[in-house]
């Protein structure tokens, strides 16, 4: 199994279909998607709403199981894994930035960042040190004790980025990371993601409907009606 890593593919979708049944009709949210993401790549999956972006994102993040086809994470077919094993692998390898599951409002910025570390069993001293470093990285060291609702949209998204980095993932998966932000704040969030990619070599997979945002990536996969209709390289 380890041999599969030598070609450096971290996530691969092989002819992935996701079908929902609505009454008598079958709705194909994904129709045979093929996608390879290599370590260190910055890939954008772009498409209008209803194109299957969210479903594709769920597949890439191993959050949903395909109706047909295979999702390979580091060469391992995720359908054959037990839920807890999958969660462990997912937790070690992937950091998520979701649009809807953002920060926990009753916890401070620092506590939000420390949360994944607690569940990973990291000692308390280390947790504090790491969270403080991450806050510094996203330029929010003076906001450590603020609750999410005391932060601006851009600051919240930066806390979410810091939290996604808490467990040193190989891949960051970002769902519309600039979706709720004005264009200037969005651009600064994108700068953080690019910095991570350039300086730390983190693999980034980003889902967006916005072409300007997608242009930050090295490769753009265009999704329409559940199919990849074009691939653009920078």
């Amino acid at each position: 199994m380890k041999k599969a890593q030598k070609n450096d593919i971290i996530i691969e979708l092989q002819d992935v279909w996701r079908t929902y049944i609505m009454g008598d009709a079958k709705v194909h949210a994904l129709r045979g998607i093929n996608l390879k993401v290599h370590k260190g790549e910055f890939v954008a999956i772009m498409g209008p709403s209803g194109s299957g972006k969210s479903t594709a994102m769920n597949m890439v993040g191993c959050l949903d199981i395909p109706t047909k086809g295979k999702v390979l994470l580091d060469g391992q077919n995720i359908s054959s894994l037990h839920e807890s094993d999958l969660a462990q692998i997912r937790g070690r390898k992937i950091g998520f930035i979701f649009q809807k599951f953002n920060l926990i409002n009753t916890l401070s910025a620092k506590e939000n960042i420390m949360l994944p570390m607690i569940f990973q069993g990291m000692p308390e001293n280390e947790r504090h040190d790491r969270a403080e470093n991450l806050l510094k990285l996203v330029d929010l060291q003076d906001r450590a004790d603020h609750r999410p609702n005391e932060l601006s949209g851009g600051q919240q998204q930066r806390v979410a980025i810091a939290r996604s980095l808490a467990v040193e993932p190989e891949v960051i998966l970002a769902d519309e990371p600039t979706g709720n932000l004005d264009s200037k704040t969005g651009a600064s969030v994108m700068d953080f993601l690019k910095k991570l990619h350039n300086e730390k070599g983190t693999t980034i997979i980003m889902v967006t409907h916005d072409e300007h945002v997608a242009r930050n990536a090295q490769r753009i996969e265009m999704l329409k009606d559940g199919e990849i209709i074009a691939t653009k390289h920078k």
């Binding site: 959050l63 949903d64 839920e83 937790g91 992937i94 809807k100 599951f101 949360l115």
Partner: protein, 166 residues
């Protein structure tokens, strides 16, 4: 809403096997924790019969209700909707756990079983629902913060006893 759920539940139970109103009431009490009254069950059965979803057969003094093809189709439709709802819940649980680092397995396994139509809490669901509702009521009445110690003690007692079963 309660009326709708009760109607679905009646159909679901009749989908499993034909039975009388009396045994329906008893079974529904076991799986939901609240025994519906005859006054609510019989009008539902009559309505379902009028709509052609169930048929009635007299067996001596008893009336045995069974599901028709039309009723079965309704159950399957609801079942598909429910399955998709559970699939969404599963994905959301995984998302939430991915962000917090929590293990989604216990929750996901439970939802997978519910999706298949199993009843993972069979035999204890009545009390599980009572406990949940009780906690919600106490919270609504603002009695949780005032009685934190007392409530935690009661919960820890129960947890300790249940942990011995693991």
């Amino acid at each position: 809403m309660v009326g709708m759920t009760l109607q679905h539940l009646v159909l679901q139970k009749l989908h499993e096997q034909p039975q009388t109103g009396y045994s329906l009431r008893k079974e529904m009490g076991q799986s939901t924790g609240q025994q519906p009254s005859f006054g609510s069950i019989y009008p539902i059965l009559e309505r379902l019969a009028a709509e052609g979803m169930v048929s009635v057969k007299e067996d001596g003094r008893k009336k045995v209700y069974s599901i028709t093809i039309k009723g079965r189709a309704a159950v399957t439709g609801v079942k598909q909707q429910q399955e998709q709802m559970f699939e969404q819940l599963i994905t959301h649980s995984r998302m939430f756990c991915a962000v917090t680092g929590n293990n989604p397995a216990p929750m996901v396994t439970m939802l997978e079983r519910l999706k298949k139509g199993e009843d993972p809490l069979r035999g204890i669901s009545a009390n599980a629902i009572r406990l949940r509702d009780l906690i919600f009521t106490l919270s609504q009445q603002g009695k949780i913060s005032r009685n934190q110690k007392e409530i935690n003690r009661a919960l820890e007692d129960a947890i300790k006893r249940l942990e011995q079963l693991k």
